[in-house]
Amino acid sequence: MNTAVIVFPGSNCDQDVMHAVAGSLGTKVRAVWHKETTLPEDTDFVILPGGFSFGDYLRCGAMAARSPIMKAVAEHGRRGGLLLGICNGFQILTESRLLPGALLPNRTLNFVCRPCFLRVESVSTPFSSLFSKGQVVQFPIAHGDGLYTLPEEELKALEDRGGVVFRYSDSDGLTGDDANPNGSANNIAGIVNERGNILGLMPHPERASEALTGGEDGRVFWQSILESFTKGGR
């Protein structure tokens, strides 16, 4: 599985994601500058990393969604290729309309960075296949604009089709308002598109990929992706 990490000006988790994927899977990872117009030919998995692309000076992700590389990224997604947006990458995915909804400023209006519990809602996606349904995992969050929202009917449709993959919870898996760090609708932390190949995730699995720094739940996340890829050959 060959991974391409797209680097936008202002990305700041690109190196971290590359480190985590290479460290967890030992597979090939390459950085691709946003001004490229094509992905490396053998790319299997594309990651839009976290950060502040273009300084978040417009709506978060809005500028990056119009970067030259995004045509090729969208095409990769349309073909059914694995595509993951983390944090700012999630914002870029919604701004690109590759995923539904939008990410608004946290309800506290403050940036928040801390470890966070998530309940795994669906294990039928390539990004979560090695978890068990209802399992509680810990990935840190670090964002100012993580309040996931979409119109009520679309929210219902998303829930009905099982598009919510991760939900903010407490350590026991309860998804009360106390466990919601940003005010997201239904405590949503990560969603997948209908086809199941594009995941947007606000928390940072790359920050939970080593015991020394943040724990190892993220390794299972990466391993899920590799195993699904190996089995399914997406």
């Binding site: 940036f111 670090a142 920050r207």
Partner: protein
Amino acid sequence: MEYTQAGLRETEYEEIRRVLGREPNECELRIMGVMWSEHCSYKSTKNLLKLFPNNGDRVVLGPGENAGIIDLGDGLGAAFKAESHNHPSAVAPYQGAATGVGGIIRDILALGARPVASMDGLFFGEPSSSRTQSLASGIVHGVGGYGNAVGVPTVGGKTAYDPSYNENPLLNAFCIGLIPLDEIVSSRTARPGQAVVLLGSKTGRDGIAGAAFASVELSEDNKASRPSIQIGDPFGEKLLIEACLEMNEKKLIVSMQDMGAAGIISSSSEVAAKSGVGMILHFDKIPLRAENMEPWEIALSESQERMLLIVDRSYLHEVMEVAEKWELDCAEFGETVEGDEYTILFHGERAASLPATLIGDRCPLIPWPSRRPADLEKKWEFDVDDIPLPEDWNETLLSLLADPSLASKKRIYEQYDSMVQLNTVIGPGHPVSMLRIKGRDSLIAMTLDADPWKCSLDPFRGGAETVARTVRDLAVAGARAAGLTDCLNFPSPEVPEQYWVLEECVKGMAEACGAFDCPVVSGNVSLYNESPDGAILPTPVVGTVGIIPSIDAALSAGTWEEGDVLFLVGPCNPSLAGSRYLLSQGKLAGRPLPFYPEAEKDFVERALKTASAKAAHSGRALSGGGLAAALAKESMESGIGASISLSIPTRKDILLFGEGCARALYAVPMSRVPLFKVLWNGYPCIQLGRVGGERLSVEGAFSLTVSELLSKWRNG
């Protein structure tokens, strides 16, 4: 223009005239006024700073450069420095704090190092006042807004409150970076015939003469001086970081200098003077963002996110290519020449011509008169017998934990990205922050601290205690202090009593640095921190960096386990002078304990052995709030209680709340108790009790559940 309008003193003006052999023109006068301001010239403190030891086995680069560098072994160095941005933060809290963070990051970058972590020292006024709340909120948002976007984690810091900071809050920003020792970029390596290049943002009118603004007291007049405030662009800084590191990696630059205080003039003249070359600069080639700027405005603009590069002409093309990739402006605007002559040309005319060495180096020092404050002894008059023992120990402990200076700072530090770059092993909220170095076993440990109250009661002892606290914290965590950086935040030196306090603080700090063999490798001085309402407390802030040889030799805090035996090491007669306990009752009185070098050194060696021998589960050096605060914090963070009995004749409030001296609280697993006792044999060491249960109980004093403690500590 009169020299006084430029902020120059008569002796300074005379010196300039003498060296030039003529009258300086207006542009030159304005340049010299800023360059010889206190902020840039250190004319009041240069002699004092000489007292600090700054050599040592590990020191690669000491004071006088953009930052200090210590040797981490195997060819890797850690570059670090702290810098104040107090006046700007008082006037425009968000931008002042943001650009403070941006500036210190560029100082680290200027050495070619990748910035890997930040810490911040925040000193605010009365927490209940709306003025403080708005300043604090702006400053915290500014630190986060900049640091988060630029991708440098904020891993620790210090926040404290005192009415003396009401109108003059302090923001001290610390940054550390990593650099292979053979890739260090110096400001001393320019040679004649090389290109002078400006990389980064366009130059505007923002922040003109900000350095001069920082060199006078805050007043209603100059609070209106918003043009003196710089505007930060963390996105621009992120691009600048990547571009500079890429250029350095490709070995395209000879020399690099951050454009901070006094912008172009300061950075370029410094490189010229240190390298022993002259410069001819064409100011009409500098990309501008404001119209009709005068040469002196261009020279003194403090527009942010700019770097000065000295480039060998054969690499100029490649430098431009890297800049273009990162979409940064990059302009060659001058060249280095033989000699000492620093010339500014503007549309073909000579705007200024000064000896490079005159600009930065030769400001006449000011020997301010120094006088011991007459009321010093009066502050020491303090009889503990006048203080009744607490009637309700539970209430006393809870209100101490709710004291804003001691309470949890989670609400602040959760607004900072503390994890980006994936090196944070121990982040904010702990006595020591730890970073791993990818591909190595060793950890970098760092801590930032200050004790303005003890410094105000006895500046010498307070200064020594400030340094000692950081060294003890590091030692307990398993790190030997390798070097430190400091921000000396003080009021005007022109008041003899205030100058004496500054002098004594420095002497005390120097004494402790010498005893610990912990050199001062970088730092800055911020004077004139006072407003019409009064002066700030003397506030030397110290950021100390140490190395833990391997992850196995690191000892964490707040990791008690059921059944652990608790030990207090260190003398049982601490002092309530300047203690958080008395301060929380509104009393600033007493004389802090002296610094005992031999006991301190002994403590450090034993603490290091305790960590490396894994003789404890958890350790915490005692500081603000004394033993009681340490017990409570350890208990809250571990989520478990303890039962303690104190069979010591010392008055219980002194024993529990007193501060000072090299002391620590350890939680030792039963099986390691014999080893622990051997390691501390010959040093005061008493067994306090056992870890377990839901309550933290001290016999004859308080007994509270962990959740009761947590609720007060977190929510006040």
